[in-house]
Structures are given as structure tokens and as C-alpha cells.
């Protein structure tokens, strides 16, 4: 069977990379005896499918992983067992059983929301919001292997608000288009001519491709 788990990554483990988080799940599963299914072949691997990688240093309350099991279990049991062997900072929040043909989490997510804490005056923040709302192009230079190219990242930003010394921002996050929140914010601030110091980034929600249904707290639906 296939179970989708939602988990939080706290401050304690925000420097653990995507790949290392994968290893962490593998080992935790073995510690609690979770009957994870393995791939066939010469070098069998446990079947986990993770969502969009979370950048290093970012915390989150909406990370997803699809786990394939050899035995049927109720989702509550799975995440309770896992939570008993997880290090501080990693908490499974909920889980639900998926039908066998459900699409992988990787292919489903298209946007995500972040809270980016900053040191900035209210006036400056207003300038940034105004620039965002003006809808004017936001061109940055993207470096890939051996060439640089200019891209307008404005269409990849879908919402921006400021309150409590933090920007709430929604950007593309998926297989086809992906924009890191700090890249978006730094570009906006630069164009608006204000200084910014980012003191923390936290991912709060993911959105589905098709319906742009909210994927955050609540049911993980």
C-alpha cells in the first residue's frame, strides 16, 4: 500500500540536505520496523518518493513523502511509529492512505508559500509590495553551466504580503518551474532599491497543480 505523510522540519535539522533527509527516513523506518517495500533488482532500495526538495537552512511544516509498504497499516500507526524514532526537529504531522494509482507527490505540487523573516522598516517593505503590485517585469541573470541568461521571474511569484516583520510569499515550486523565495525577495528589494537582511525562511503551504488546492495544514488532501 501507499501512504502519504506530511512532516515538519524544524530548526534543529534545517541544515540536513534533501538527500540526507531521505537517508534519515530509511534508517528511522528500520529502527521502528516499518515494513517498507523495496525495489527489485541488484541493489534494492526502499520505496520512498519525496516532494520538492527544501533548500538548506529552510524550515517547513508541509513536507511530503509517499511511502510504499509491504503490509497494510493504518496511517496513524505509521506516523506514530516513525515519530518514536525520529531525531528532534523532524515530526510527522499526519498521513493518509493513497490509491495505488495516485500520482506521486513530486508530480503534483506546483507552488508553495513561505514566510520569510526580515530586518526591514515598514516604509521599505511598502516599497517592495508596491513594486510587486505594479506587475512590472523582474529580470534577473540566471547562471547555468556555462552561460548566463536573463529571465523575468515576476510570473513565477503569485502573492506577496508583509506583516509581523515577515513577507508571505507564494512562488513556483515544482518539476517544471521553481523559484526560491529568497531569490525572489532579493530581486524585488534590489529593484525597489532597499536593503534586506533575511533572518529565517519557513515553508507553510504547498499547492496542487491542477486545482491549485491548498496542500497545507489540515488534511493534506
Amino acid at each position: 500500500m501507499k501512504i502519504r505523510l506530511r512532516y515538519a522540519k524544524g530548526d534543529e535539522i534545517k541544515y540536513i540536505s534533501h538527500l540526507d533527509t531521505l537517508k534519515l527516513f530509511e534508517r528511522a523506518s528500520r529502527r521502528c520496523g516499518l515494513p517498507v517495500a523495496y525495489t527489485e533488482g541488484f541493489n534494492p532500495r526502499p520505496r520512498f518518493v519525496f516532494g520538492n526538495p527544501l533548500p538548506l537552512g529552510v524550515t517547513s511544516e508541509c513536507e511530503f513523502v509517499d511511502v510504499y509498504l509491504d503490509k497494510d497499516m493504518i496511517p496513524e500507526e505509521v506516523f506514530r511509529d516513525l515519530n518514536s524514532v525520529m531525531p528532534k526537529g523532524l515530526r510527522i504531522l499526519d498521513g493518509k492512505a493513497l490509491s495505488a494509482n495516485a500520482d506521486n507527490i513530486m508530480n503534483e505540487v506546483s507552488r508553495s508559500e513561505y514566510v520569510v523573516k526580515v530586518e526591514m522598516s515598514g516604509d521599505d517593505a511598502r516599497k517592495v509590495i508596491e513594486l510587486y503590485e505594479s506587475n512590472s517585469p523582474l529580470v534577473i541573470v540566471k547562471k547555468s553551466k556555462n552561460r548566463e541568461r536573463e529571465v523575468d521571474i515576476r510570473p513565477m511569484i503569485h502573492s506577496l504580503e508583509f506583516n509581523d516583520q515577515a513577507f508571505h510569499i507564494i512562488t513556483d515550486a515544482g518539476n517544471t518551474s521553481n523559484l526560491r523565495p529568497e531569490v525572489a525577495l532579493i530581486a524585488l528589494c534590489e529593484h525597489a532599491g532597499v536593503n534586506v537582511k533575511i533572518t529565517g525562511i519557513h515553508r507553510t503551504k504547498l499547492f496542487k497543480v491542477s486545482e491549485l488546492l491548498e496542500y497545507g495544514k489540515g488534511t493534506g488532501n
Binding site: 535539522i13 540526507d20 534508517r27 529502527r31 537552512g57 529565517g200
Partner: protein
């Protein structure tokens, strides 16, 4: 909260090296313990967290309710720079607090090239780097591990050395410390109490005099410490290895480290007695663990860590008395949990190839042989009990079994080596290619991948070659080139810059004066000297010169058999007399049987344990 803030962590490589919190790491209430112990490994996290001994002692100390042991690893230069800029000091991974107020700062000394990092870590901790400058309230700096057997090079930095295996000795030391703390004695009082424990050496209780030619004249206990310190410090061993402490937990790092798996010592020591190998002498006598015990340890560790691999650890796995049944038993226990078994350092023969196929999903590449020398004559000199016939036969079995990749390890500069011995290396490699062609005759086979890898011989204390000279840098290069030219181009050749081996040789057999050189190198920026990209040979050479010492005195000089060696006050069980006899036999090209065949009376029987009592 991490001690290093996010702003800095975001700018350094692999920040998770510094944030702690790994599964099975131990966090205690600092107000509920009597002893805080900062356990240092003088290299980066990825290396330190790969050492079994480091993790073993960590858990051993933490199993004491009265002690909180924390891990402290050398910050990589990118972080060190930020720490110095921001006036930060060295901290423990568990508490994320500075270690300068801890009771102990302990180092495990695994290799001499880490000594500049020892000094650097003390300095970063804001603890006086020299023992003589530490005052009441400063931590006690202690050191153990294989390199600690030559105590002298770091004698000015370390308050207390523990010689040999720490499992029992450290408990005694902690108990004595608590007694001392209760008595509210002075710093020196604790050193006196510690010095009375077997295996403990307190360097400041000894004085050294030198002869005019620079050799040691005397190394003796100062008059006023006669009641506390011993003239001869005898290495400690755990006599009953079967029932010795083992940790049923193990810290599981988040980030990739070099050896990221469960490692289980199946036996300690080695019976072989290769004359160049320090480990072969300092860990005597050989003591085995039973199949049942090893299986029990493996099961507990798999359960507590979730690791996907268990690896057997020893100096020579093939010498384990019942390797076949051990592997069978382990596989039965761990296979269903999808855990792999790693069986490294096997001698290659049909038994081991069959075993390898059975136990692990290794790709059919990468078999290693360590003949160490190119001719039978020289292999007899070093007592490496392996013949050309053995190697060719094993290669044939391997090639027939589908392997095509063989790596051969050799040493250049072994005592009595001639050009003929070097050409013998090439000869052996060529014969292996012939074997490959014979095996695959008439068929279109993959090209064989034969690699010859050479290192430079470093004479080590407590070996029969402790009196021998190392060859000069020019001579090493000449011999490397000689070999390179002699090798068929089908063979891959890999060799090391001789510079690290030369510095390592000087530090391995150094005396107290060499400690000044380490300080000089460190002052001039020396860090991570075990890393080729950081080691600076010229800086070392300049430091020797500035301190008025001739490096060749330590490297290229053959010692007189009657000379007082800087480490003579330490006994590892194996007697100096035995080593002398071994050296003489080496010069005559005579071999010595291993302990399994016959006891040759090396001296380690004083421990009344392991093979000395089992078999003989």
C-alpha cells in the same frame, strides 16, 4: 540554539557538521553531572565520525551517570576563519557550549599529521596550549590513541596521557577525578593521583637530558614525583575482550561521513607480525570475540541505529578463527532487515571470493592485494607472509570468477631495499597481466584494470624497524621514477608525494624538542596537515630550522641499538629485546612465524590474555 549562528552557518560548507542533534547523540542536564568531558578528534567531522574507537569511548563515558561526554571536532578552515573573526570559541556538539570550562578536554590521537590541529583546537577553545601555563580552573588535557604511544612530541601540550586501551583506565581516571574534586585539592594533586593509575603518564613529572650528539641521554622521573610517577609506563589492555564494553548505541550522523555504517571489532590485535606495521605490535595480544557475541552486538546496533550496513572490523579479517560461520550467522540475523554485510581486508583466496559473493552485493571490481614488497627476499625481510605464487594463484581465481580489477599496494624505501626489489614490483604486475591473458585466452574479454599503488615507508616506534633510517626525498623520487619507467603502460600507477611521509616520519619518532616545531608550524598557519591540500612542506622544513633542529636527525638517521629512544619509558608489552631480535632476523632475511603457528615470546604474554593463553 546552535552556538554558531545562522548567518555564519549559511556561509560554510556542510553546516550540519556543527549543529549536533544526531540520532543517539547524548544530551544530559549539565547540572546533574559531576564531570563534563570534551572529547576531541583533531580532524573534520566526516573523518572523526568514521572512527569506531572515537564513538566507543563517547558512549562508554556517557554510560556513566556522573559524566557528560560531548564530541568536539576540528572546524573546517572556512568555519575557523569566521570563528576567529567573531571571537567564538570551540564548543561541544551536544550542549553547543564552549568547552573551556569543562573538566576534561580529551584527544584521541590517530595520526601524527593531526598534531597541528590539536594545538589549533586548544587555542580555539581558549585554553592555554601549553600544559605549564594551565592554572586551577582550566580543564585537564588528556590524550590517548595509537599515536599517543610516543608521548614525547606532544608532551608539552598534554597534561595526562593514557597508554593503551582506554575502556577500563578511563573509568579509573574519572573515579579518581571525582575524589580529587571532593577533596578540593590543587591541580597538581590530581596529576599525582592520576599518575598512580596503571597506564597513565604525566609528562611534566619527567625530565629529559640530551647527549651532545642530540640523542636522549636520560628520561627519568623528577626527584619530587618519585612517589607518584613510574619509570616505565605499561600499556593497558582489556584482558577479557569477549566481555569487554561495547556500545549498544551509536551516533548516526546526518551528513555523509567516510565510514557511515555499523562497525564491529571481531578481534583486537594481529598475529602476523609484519615488521613495518605498528598496529601489529601495539595491539598485542590478539583477542577474539565469539560468533555469538558479535551477532548479539550486530542485532542491538541494527535495532538502535537503523543502519543499512554492518561491517566487520579487524586488522586482518581472514585470521578470524571461524569466519565462515560468523558470516552465516550474521546473514541469518540481518538479511531480512535488508541490512548488508561488509567483510573488508580479506586475504584473496577461493574461500574469501566465495564469501564475498555470498555476503555482499559488491560489484565485480576492486580486489586488493598488499604484497608491500616486490621480491621474496624483501617480503621475508618485512615478514610479510605472502608469496608471488599466492598472489598469482589468487589472481587467477579472481579472474576466473569474473573480477578484472586488481589493486596492488607496495611500500618504497623499506630497509635493505635495492633497485632489484623495485623492478620486482613491475615484474609482479606484469605477471598478473599474463595470468589474465591466459585465463581469457581466445575470448574477447574486458581489459584488465591493474593498479600499482606505492606509498613511502615510515619507520614507526614499537616496531623492529624503529631504529631504521628513512630514505631521503631525492631517493624516494628516484625510486618512484625507476618504477614508473619499468611499468608496462597497461598498468595504472599511483603514488604519493613523499613530503607527507617525511614529516610523518619526523613526528612519529620525535622527541620533546619536536613539540616546538609543531607550535612553530601552527603559528605560521599550519592546519589540517593530514590533508594534502593544506600540508605545506616548506613550512615544516623552515620550522625545524628555526627551532634549531635538523629534520634528517629524525628521519634519515639510523639509530644505534643501544640508544635511549624517546619512547623507551613506555612499554606496549612487546619487549625491546624482541624487537631487536626481529630486526636482526630481518637483516638476515629470516621470517618469524605468527602467533597461531608458534609463540615466539614477544613479551605480550604478560597480559595473560588472548592468544597467548588460548593456544599456547
Amino acid at each position: 540554539m546552535t552556538y554558531i549562528n545562522d548567518e555564519i552557518l549559511a556561509q560554510v560548507e556542510k553546516p550540519a557538521r556543527y549543529t549536533g542533534g544526531e540520532w543517539n547523540s547524548v544530551v544530559k542536564d549539565k547540572n546533574a553531572v559531576d564531570i563534563r568531558f570534551a572529547f576531541c578528534f583533531a580532524d573534520v567531522y566526516d573523518i572523526g565520525m568514521s572512527h569506531l574507537g572515537y564513538k566507543l569511548i563517547y558512549h562508554l563515558l556517557n554510560d556513566r551517570e556522573d559524566t557528560w561526554c560531548e564530541r568536539v571536532l576540528a572546524p573546517w578552515p572556512d568555519l575557523e576563519e569566521k570563528m576567529r573573526e567573531n571571537n567564538l570559541c570551540l564548543f561541544g556538539l551536544e550542549s553547543q557550549e564552549p568547552i573551556k570550562d569543562f573538566d576534561f578536554i580529551g584527544f584521541t590521537l590517530q595520526y601524527e599529521m593531526s598534531y597541528t590541529n590539536v594545538v589549533n583546537m586548544l587555542d580555539l577553545a581558549r585554553v592555554p596550549v601549553f600544559s605549564k601555563d594551565r592554572k586551577d580552573g582550566d580543564p585537564f588535557v588528556i590524550a590517548g590513541g595509537p599515536s599517543a604511544n610516543n608521548t614525547e612530541v606532544l608532551a608539552d601540550y598534554i597534561d595526562i596521557f593514557s597508554i593503551g586501551e582506554g575502556e577500563e583506565m578511563l573509568h579509573e581516571l574519572m573515579d579518581v577525578y571525582k575524589e580529587w574534586k571532593k577533596s578540593k585539592g590543587d591541580r597538581i594533586d590530581f596529576l599525582k593521583m592520576a599518575a598512580r593509575i596503571d597506564g597513565i603518564y604525566v609528562p611534566c613529572f619527567y625530565e629529559v637530558e640530551y647527549n651532545e650528539d642530540g640523542t636522549v641521554k636520560t628520561h627519568k622521573v623528577k626527584e619530587e614525583y618519585k612517589d607518584y610517577a613510574k619509570e616505565k609506563v605499561v600499556k593497558r589492555v582489556v584482558k577479557d575482550f569477549e566481555n569487554a564494553y561495547f556500545h549498544d548505541k551509536l551516533v548516526v550522523p546526518y551528513v555523509n561521513v567516510v565510514h557511515d555504517r555499523i562497525m564491529i571489532e571481531i578481534f583486537r590485535g594481529c598475529t602476523r607480525g609484519c615488521r613495518f606495521c605498528q598496529a601489529g605490535f601495539i595491539y598485542r595480544p590478539v583477542r577474539e570475540r565469539s560468533v555469538g557475541k558479535i551477532t548479539e552486538i550486530a542485532n542491538k546496533l541494527v535495532e538502535s541505529t537503523g543502519y543499512e550496513e554492518v561491517s566487520l572490523l579487524s586488522l586482518s579479517t581472514s585470521d578470524y578463527s571461524s569466519l565462515g560461520s560468523l558470516c552465516d550467522e550474521l546473514l541469518v540475523n540481518i538479511e531480512e532487515k535488508k541490512v548488508n554485510l561488509g567483510v573488508p581486508s580479506l586475504r584473496v583466496d577461493s574461500f574469501s571470493l566465495e564469501l564475498m559473493e555470498r555476503v555482499s552485493r559488491v560489484r565485480k571490481s576492486g580486489l586488493t592485494f598488499a604484497p608491500e614488497a616486490g621480491t621474496q627476499r624483501l617480503r621475508d625481510v618485512i615478514n610479510k607472509g605472502i608469496t608471488e605464487e599466492d598472489i598469482l594463484k589468487s589472481s587467477e581465481i579472481a579472474f576466473r570468477g569474473g573480477w578484472n580489477n586488481i589493486k596492488l599496494y607496495f611500500m618504497l624505501g623499506l630497509p635493505t631495499e635495492t633497485d632489484e626489489d623495485i623492478l620486482g614490483i613491475a615484474d609482479m604486475a606484469h605477471k598478473i597481466i599474463d595470468v589474465y591473458e591466459k585465463v581469457h585466452k581466445g575470448r574477447r574479454a574486458r581489459r584488465p584494470e591493474i593498479t600499482v599503488s606505492v606509498s613511502t615507508f615510515v619507520p614507526k616506534p614499537f616496531t623492529p624497524f624503529q631504529w631504521c633510517a628513512q630514505i631521503s626525498k631525492e631517493e624516494i623520487i628516484r625510486r618512484q621514477n625507476l618504477l614508473k619507467k619499468a611499468l608496462n603502460r597497461k598498468i595504472n600507477f599511483s603514488w604519493h608525494d613523499p613530503e607527507t611521509s617525511i614529516i610523518e616520519a619526523a613526528l612519529s619518532r620525535g622527541d620533546r624538542r619536536v613539540g616546538r616545531v609543531i607550535y612553530n608550524v601552527w603559528k605560521n598557519g599550519g592546519r589540517f596537515d593530514a590533508w594534502e591540500e593544506y600540508m605545506n612542506y616548506d613550512r615544516w622544513i623552515a620550522a625545524f630550522r628555526e627551532e634549531g633542529l635538523d629534520i634528517t636527525f629524525y628521519t634519515e638517521r639510523e639509530r644505534d641499538l643501544d640508544e635511549v629512544l624517546p619512547w623507551d619509558h613506555v612499554s606496549v608489552g612487546v619487549t625491546k629485546n624482541f624487537l631487536k631480535k626481529e630486526l636482526e632476523k630481518a637483516k638476515r632475511g629470516e621470517t618469524t612465524p605468527n602467533c597461531m603457528e608458534k609463540c615466539t615470546g614477544c613479551g605480550a604474554a604478560i597480559y595473560k590474555g588472548g592468544i597467548c593463553v588460548d593456544e599456547n
